[in-house]
Amino acid sequence: LAAPVRHSSHGKRMFIIKATSFYDSRFLKMLRFYICLTGIPAAIFITYVNIFIGEAELAEIPEGYIPEYWEYYKHPISRWIARYLLDPPEKDYEKSLALLDVEAKKAEMRLMALEARRLMRARGDGPWYHYETPDKNLTDNSMKATPDN
């Protein structure tokens, strides 16, 4: 005879009716999966670099030595990016200066062209602003021949 033993058996089994959490939990699972897919290797790599390679130390520029442009950064990964992926800042600077130069010359040329237009239109002694007029031999001067008209 098995006496009814009072183990806490959570009471009666209920079928709890609530809204589906399938889509929400699937979204969160996918989010965590895809973030960790590249996040964990990136975190491992960055930890490795920080522990085993370490950051640079600040030093005075030695006499007669011109540091390369990537040696101005502290973290080894930023040094690597500056060295292999980016252009030297001198090249960037020269490119921007060249662009500025071209645009400045264009603006100057446009101002000079406007001035030339203004002067040629006013004085009329330049190659611009010549307008075609009909031939003077085509005019009929017969009505101007007699003054009493």
């Binding site: 085993f52 390679i53 520029i61 040696e71 950064y73 500025l100 130069d101 100057e108």
Partner: protein
């Protein structure tokens, strides 16, 4: 653990330096219409403004460190640091003060010009 990390890192040491920029002609020494000169003077002005902001931060930190050291009698013993902060702040405000977000070297030069004009007017009136 810290010593083990130090040993790992000290195998191949490398250094980083502060970049030294050459002084270029200022905006007041540029020929009018020379946009390249304007660009370089502008860059130099911005670098100088950043340096001045760092100087401000350092002077402020000195005052706060002094206040932390002195404790309850900081108002009396930190007079030098307070005086220094006051002078540096006044100088910074005079030079870069109300230029606003779009302040560039040109507006700064104009501000200097206006200050000189007002100074001359005050001298004539006095």
């Amino acid at each position: 653990v810290a010593e083990w990390i130090e040993r790992q890192q000290s195998r191949n040491k490398f250094y980083y330096y502060h970049q030294q920029f050459r002084r270029v002609p200022d905006l007041s020494e540029c020929v009018e219409g020379d946009h390249l000169c304007y660009f370089e003077a502008e860059a130099q002005w911005r670098r100088d403004r950043m340096v001045d902001q760092e100087i401000m931060g350092i002077v402020r930190e000195r005052l706060s460190a002094c206040q932390y050291r002195e404790g309850p009698n900081h108002l009396q013993n930190c007079a030098k640091e307070m005086e220094q902060l006051l002078q540096v702040t006044k100088a910074y405000q005079d030079k870069y003060g109300d230029l606003g977000v779009h302040g560039n070297s040109r507006t700064c030069l104009m501000k200097q010009k206006h200050m000189m004009m007002e100074e001359r007017k005050a001298q004539e009136n006095a």
